[in-house]
């Protein structure tokens, strides 16, 4: 277990015992350890056994250790949390989305009623719908802030070009989530906004009409469109987003995050490093 212990920050390190203090460890050659201590030791040992059992079969711990204790460059600041906050917003959308999917019915005759049912009847339904709705806004804001951060820090440059490209695709997919999700409650506003949006697509050259037909599920806006938007919104696009986030994070772990561009390594460490 001790191999797993990271260099802890000061406030997490156990305070060294002070002279004249009974530091509670009870190792002063006294009699048998107290009941509480014994329990604690037992628990530690059992945990170690379980972890050991898992590790023996999965061999995960080197991977975990390499990733958890990898170093982040000097100067890493709060702006670097925007990516993981976007990820968190996505997870929140996924979780609230699952709960909405339990009640929602993608059928022109039932969609609005089921949305109303969620809002008015289901326990905490309005809260969950609200979280999903406003979560999309929060995620869009965070993704743009994260984009701005990586742009300002020049993080898209060598060797992180692929990360940037995956990021732009993620941005488009996230916007597509907003577009497809907007129709689902099937109220006036969402219906007409989506009609206009699809008509816009229809006017694109060459692929436009096909794309619009594909989105509508036919020449007209109707039942087929709704179930199509639903499938896109809760299967295809989120699947793609999850996969691409995986690739994005793999590269983050592999290449490391950039250091702030105004930091230059100190001369001293240049020598001591001895590249």
């Amino acid at each position: 277990m001790s191999k797993l212990t990271p260099p802890l920050p000061k406030f997490l390190r156990p305070a060294p015992p002070r002279p004249g203090e009974d530091n509670g460890a009870g190792h002063n050659g006294d009699a048998a350890p107290s009941r509480g201590e014994k329990l604690r030791e037992d628990a530690t040992e059992k945990t170690a056994q379980v972890v050991g059992w898992l590790d023996e079969r999965s061999n995960l711990s080197p991977l975990l250790r390499a990733n958890l204790y990898r170093k982040v460059p000097k100067g890493t600041n709060w702006f670097y949390t925007l990516g993981s906050a976007t990820l968190f917003a996505f997870v929140s959308q996924a979780v609230t989305g699952v709960f909405l999917a339990m009640y929602y019915e993608p059928d022109t005759a039932r969609a609005y009623e089921s949305a109303a049912y969620i809002t008015n009847e289901v326990f905490l339904g309005e809260l969950v719908r609200g979280m999903h709705k406003w979560g999309s806004t929060v995620m869009i804001i965070l993704i743009f802030l994260h984009l701005a951060r990586t742009f300002l820090f020049g993080a898209y440059k060598y060797p992180r070009e692929i990360q940037w490209i995956i990021g732009v695709v993620l941005l488009v997919l996230t916007l597509a989530m907003g577009l497809t999700g907007y129709l689902l409650p099937f109220d006036q506003r969402s219906f007409w906004a989506t009609t206009v949006a699809v008509n816009l697509n229809a006017s694109a050259p060459i692929i436009g009409p096909y794309l619009a037909d594909f989105m509508r599920g036919g020449a007209e806006f109707g039942a087929a469109s709704l179930s199509r938007f639903y499938a896109l919104h809760m299967l295809l696009i989120p699947g793609l987003i999850a996969a691409l986030i995986g690739a994005h994070l793999y590269l983050v772990a592999k290449l490391g995050t950039t250091a702030p561009p105004w930091l230059k390594p100190e001369k001293k460490s240049l020598n001591s490093e001895g590249i």
Binding site: W78, A85, V138, Y158, P159, D187, R189, K264, P265, S269
Partner: protein, 246 residues
Amino acid sequence: MNAQEKEQYLREYSQLKNAGKPFFPYAVTKDGAMAAITLFVIIAMAILFGAELGPKADPTTTTYSPRPEWYFFFLFELLRVIKPPSLVLMATLGIPTICLILLLLLPFYDRSPERHPLKRPIAMIGAVATVVAMAYLSIIGALGGPPSEIEIPVAAAYEDGAAVTAASGCLGCHRIGENGNTLGPNLTAIGDRLGRDAIARTLINPTSPMPSYQSLQEENPEQFEALVDFIASLKEEAAEGGQDTQ
């Protein structure tokens, strides 16, 4: 970046990285705090603003406003600002597509090794211009009416009808003056071709994909009459003269 610059970057980076702290628990603590803030904001917004649900979607509606989510306002505004039909396509699809491609390929045309924002003037000017343009369009989009607004001069007698038309979604498919879509025929001078009765017949018994407005006629006869009067009043000389002469 040439090979030497790449190597220098990697060398400096590995030094800065070695001088850094472990991801766990330092970065993880910050990420966790940020996640907590994110969750708090989402829940607070959900509680404060709720999840409104408007009236049920109705393709033959009399009141609707095709408002997208706020982050699409700038696209709708592009559509509204750029009116000449030959340019609409460019506005709504061309400009965003070009911007997107420029964004996607950024690492391939911005190849200088410089990363400090203050030493990349061109990139910064481009970024600020983009942000200002998008913010400007979004704000106007938020303040302005929906893109289905009717902006041709309307005589007082037809104002009711114009309002019903605007609210009925005709512009989702038809063009009146400079506004509207091009799925159906242009209605700007429809009064020259079709009489009142023919228009009323079309509305009650249209050819697909146009929806039927029979329910409007049954439930709100005056509104329906006003709508038909307005559409019938759309004539060439009225459109040109800017005044309805009837």
